[in-house]
C-alpha cells in the first residue's frame, strides 16, 4: 500500500493531477489524503480482477448493507471538494501514522518491539496477538455479540534498529499492514518511534463497515499502542485501570 509513510512516500506516489509541490503542513495533509484516496481506488481496481464480488470478502450481511455508498465514496476520495466533503458523514480514517518520543536508543527499542511478548502487550488494547512462527502473528479482534475477526501478518521488511514492516496476505478478511520506524531524537530525548497502520477496506465502504462493526479506530489503535510501548519501555509497566474500584464494580469498563 502506498499509504504507509505519507511524509516520504506521498511525494513518490502522488497522483499526477496534483499541483501541490511545497512541503507546508497543509500540503502534507492534503497529500496524505490524496495518497489514501489513490490507494483505495487502486485497490478497488485490483479487486475487480482478482477478488470477485465483495460478498466473498466476509463479514456477511451486516457489511453487505453498506454496498450502496461505494461509488459515492470512490468519487469523494478522488475529487471531492471541501464543500462536498462537509456535507458527507465523517468517515473513519483508514491509514494513520503517528510518532512518539521514547527514552532509549533505536537499537534497544527495536529489540524490545520485536520481542513477541512485548508486541502482544503493546497491541493488547486492540487485539489478541499470538506468535505463529518467526515474524508471523495471529491477530484476533473481539467484536460485539461474541463475534471475532482475525488475520495473520508476516514481517516483510526487517532492518534491525531502523524499521519493521508487516502485512496480511491480500485475501485476508480485513487486509491491513503496519510499520514501525526508529530514528534518533535530538539531544537527550531518546528515539522517535513512528507507527503506521493502514487498513484496506475491501470495496471502500465495505471495509469501513467492518472497522465500525468491530469498533476499530485506526487513529486510536496507533495512539494507544505507542503510549503502551513507551510506558512499558520507560517505566516497566503499562498503566492500567484493571480492577479499579468504583460504584460500577471492579475494572474500567463496567
Amino acid at each position: 500500500m502506498a499509504t504507509l509513510e505519507p511524509q516520504n512516500e506521498a511525494e513518490r506516489h502522488r497522483d499526477g493531477t496534483s499541483s501541490e509541490t511545497g512541503r507546508l503542513p497543509g500540503t502534507l495533509i492534503r497529500g496524505g489524503q490524496l495518497v489514501v484516496g489513490t490507494a483505495l481506488v487502486d485497490y478497488g481496481r485490483r479487486q475487480r480482477s482478482s477478488r470477485g464480488t465483495a460478498a466473498t470478502v466476509g463479514g456477511g450481511a451486516l457489511i453487505f448493507s453498506a454496498l450502496g455508498g461505494m461509488s459515492r465514496v470512490k468519487r469523494a476520495l478522488t475529487d471531492r471538494t471541501d464543500s462536498e466533503r462537509a456535507t458527507e458523514p465523517e468517515r473513519r480514517e483508514t491509514a494513520v501514522r503517528r510518532s512518539i518520543t521514547v527514552d532509549g536508543t533505536p537499537e534497544s527499542l527495536y529489540e524490545q518491539w520485536r520481542d513477541p511478548e512485548t508486541f502482544a502487550e503493546i497491541m493488547g488494547h486492540f487485539a489478541e496477538v499470538t506468535p505463529v512462527d518467526e515474524g508471523r502473528f495471529r491477530w484476533t479482534v473481539h467484536g460485539p455479540y461474541g463475534r471475532d475477526i482475525g488475520w495473520e501478518t508476516s514481517v516483510v521488511v526487517d532492518e534491525p534498529g531502523e524499521i519493521c514492516r508487516w502485512e496480511t496476505p491480500t485475501d485476508a478478511v480485513l487486509p491491513n499492514e503496519g510499520a514501525v520506524r526508529f530514528e534518533e531524537a535530538p539531544g537527550d530525548r531518546g528515539t522517535v518511534v513512528t507507527l503506521s497502520v493502514a487498513f484496506e477496506p475491501p470495496g471502500g465502504t465495505l471495509g469501513s463497515a467492518a472497522l465500525e462493526q468491530f469498533d476499530i479506530v485506526p487513529k486510536k489503535l496507533v495512539g494507544v499502542a505507542l503510549d503502551r510501548f513507551k510506558s512499558l519501555v520507560e517505566s516497566g509497566e503499562v498503566p492500567t485501570l484493571d480492577r479499579n474500584p468504583s460504584g460500577r464494580g471492579s475494572g474500567d469498563t463496567v
Binding site: K220, G223, K230, S235, G236, P239, R243, P245, G247, D252
Partner: protein
C-alpha cells in the same frame, strides 16, 4: 469497602465498592487513615469537569498505612505510614526526570482521551475524571497507589495525620504557586482566594521574601485566617473595588505578582460574571475566568501571574490583549508534588510551619456527603475538611 462516590451534580454518596488490589508490579495498596476534601473537588461536585462517570471514587488527598506491595516495590513495606501525592508519576520519563511530575508521560491510561482535548496528556491523578487517568480516589477505606517508589512519602516521626496530610496537595500547591510568582524582596503579591491553597500560597509568598501579601476573598473567616496566620493585608471584594484598593496599596503600580487560587468556579460579581454563569449552563463555556480577568487588569506591567486554581476547558472574554500589551508572564500547571515533598516535610518537622491550622472539620468518612455540601456553601466556617474512613 466504603468510599465516597460521584453521581452527578451535587450528588456524592457513601457506597460499598470493591476493595482495590495490587495490579502492576510497582503498586502498593494503603489503608487510608485520613483523607481531605479539596477545593478542586468542588469543581467535580458542580459537574464542571468532563469525563466523570457515575460511581467514580472521589478524593486525591490521602494518607495511610501500606497493607500490600507489588513485587517491584523497593522503598516501601507493609506497615509504613505514608502521605500520597495527588499526581501519579512514573519517575522514569523525560518529564519526571526534569522534575515536572504532573506532566508525566506514562501514568495516564486514558492519555488518548486527554490528547484529543488538550493536544497532550498530563499525568494521571487520583479521583479526578477519566480524562485525567480514571484512577479511583482516596476518599475510601483503601487506595491502590501506582509507582509506589515514586509518589508516597514515608512519615517516620510522630507528627499527627493533620500535620502531614496536606503534603498530598494543598501545601505543595500553595508553595509552587508562590514559587511560580517569581517573588523578589520588595514585591507586593496579591492572592485571589483564601481557601486552603490560597492560605498556603500566602504563607509561602511570605517565606519567599515578599514585602507584602494582599489576600482577596469575601468570606470573613477566611480573610481573618489570612490576616492571622499569613500576616496579609485583606480585601473583601464585596465591600470594596479590588482594582482601586490594589492601586492604592501599590502607588498605582499594581501588584508585582498575582496568584489565582480560585480557578474555574469563581463567584464573581457584575454583568460579565453573570453572563459567564449563563453560558456555562448552556454549555457554551466551560470556565468562568473571573479571577484571571481581574488579575490581568490589576497586575503590574511586566509582572507575573501564577495560576494554581484549576480550569477545565474553554473560557470567553479572556483579556488576551491586556495580557499581551502589559507583558505579563503566566505560569501555571498542576503541582509537581513529588518535587516538594522532601523540603516541605523538613519545614514541618523543623516546626517552621504547622499546616493543620487550616482544618476546621474532622469527621468520619460517612459524613462525607453532607460535608461536601457544607464546604461548598462555606457554611459553619468551613475551610478544610478531613475525613476518617
Amino acid at each position: 469497602m466504603r468510599a465516597l462516590t460521584w453521581h452527578g451534580k451535587q450528588d456524592v454518596r457513601v457506597e460499598e465498592v470493591p476493595r482495590p488490589e495490587v495490579v502492576n508490579p510497582t503498586d502498593a495498596v494503603i489503608e487510608v487513615t485520613a483523607t481531605a476534601i479539596c477545593g478542586s473537588d468542588l469543581h467535580l461536585y458542580h459537574g464542571r469537569v468532563p469525563s466523570m462517570r457515575e460511581g467514580d471514587v472521589l478524593g486525591h488527598e490521602p494518607m495511610g498505612r501500606v497493607v500490600e506491595v507489588g513485587e517491584d516495590v523497593e522503598t516501601l513495606e507493609e506497615g509504613d505510614r505514608v502521605v500520597v501525592p495527588f499526581t501519579i508519576s512514573c519517575g522514569a520519563c523525560w518529564f519526571c526526570e526534569h522534575d515536572l511530575y504532573s506532566l508525566c508521560d506514562n501514568s495516564n491510561p486514558n492519555a488518548e482521551l486527554a490528547r484529543e482535548t488538550m493536544g497532550h496528556s498530563p499525568a494521571g491523578l487520583f479521583g479526578y475524571s477519566h480524562m485525567l487517568g480514571g484512577y479511583a480516589g482516596g476518599q475510601a477505606e483503601y487506595l491502590r497507589v501506582p509507582y509506589a517508589d515514586v509518589g508516597p512519602v514515608k512519615i517516620e516521626s510522630d507528627l499527627t495525620d493533620e500535620q502531614v496530610l496536606f503534603l498530598s496537595d494543598i501545601f505543595p500547591t500553595g508553595h509552587m504557586a508562590a514559587e511560580n510568582a517569581d517573588i523578589d524582596e520588595n514585591d507586593t503579591v496579591a492572592v485571589w482566594g483564601c481557601g486552603p491553597v490560597g492560605q498556603f500560597a500566602i504563607q509561602s509568598a511570605d517565606l519567599l521574601g515578599a514585602d507584602r501579601v494582599v489576600a482577596i476573598d469575601r468570606v470573613p473567616e477566611r480573610l481573618e485566617m489570612a490576616r492571622e496566620h499569613g500576616d496579609a493585608v485583606t480585601i473583601d471584594y464585596e465591600d470594596e473595588d479590588v482594582y482601586d484598593r490594589l492601586m492604592d496599596l501599590t502607588g498605582g503600580r499594581g501588584p508585582d505578582s498575582c496568584i489565582d487560587a480560585v480557578g474555574t468556579d469563581a463567584h464573581g460579581t457584575g454583568v460579565v460574571a453573570t453572563s459567564d454563569r449563563v453560558k456555562q449552563r448552556l454549555l457554551l463555556e466551560d470556565d468562568r475566568p473571573t479571577v484571571l480577568r481581574e488579575a490581568i487588569r490589576c497586575c503590574r506591567k511586566g509582572g507575573t501571574l501564577s495560576v494554581p486554581g484549576v480550569y477545565v476547558g474553554r473560557a470567553d472574554n479572556f483579556p488576551v490583549g491586556p495580557l499581551m500589551n502589559k507583558g505579563i508572564t503566566v505560569k501555571t500547571g498542576q503541582t509537581h508534588v513529588q518535587r516538594y515533598l522532601g523540603p516541605l516535610l523538613d519545614q514541618i518537622e523543623s516546626g517552621n510551619i504547622d499546616p493543620s491550622f487550616v482544618v476546621t472539620h474532622d469527621e468520619p468518612l460517612e459524613r462525607g456527603p453532607e460535608l461536601y455540601e457544607t464546604f461548598n456553601d462555606k457554611e459553619d466556617d468551613c475551610i478544610k475538611v478531613v475525613l476518617r474512613p
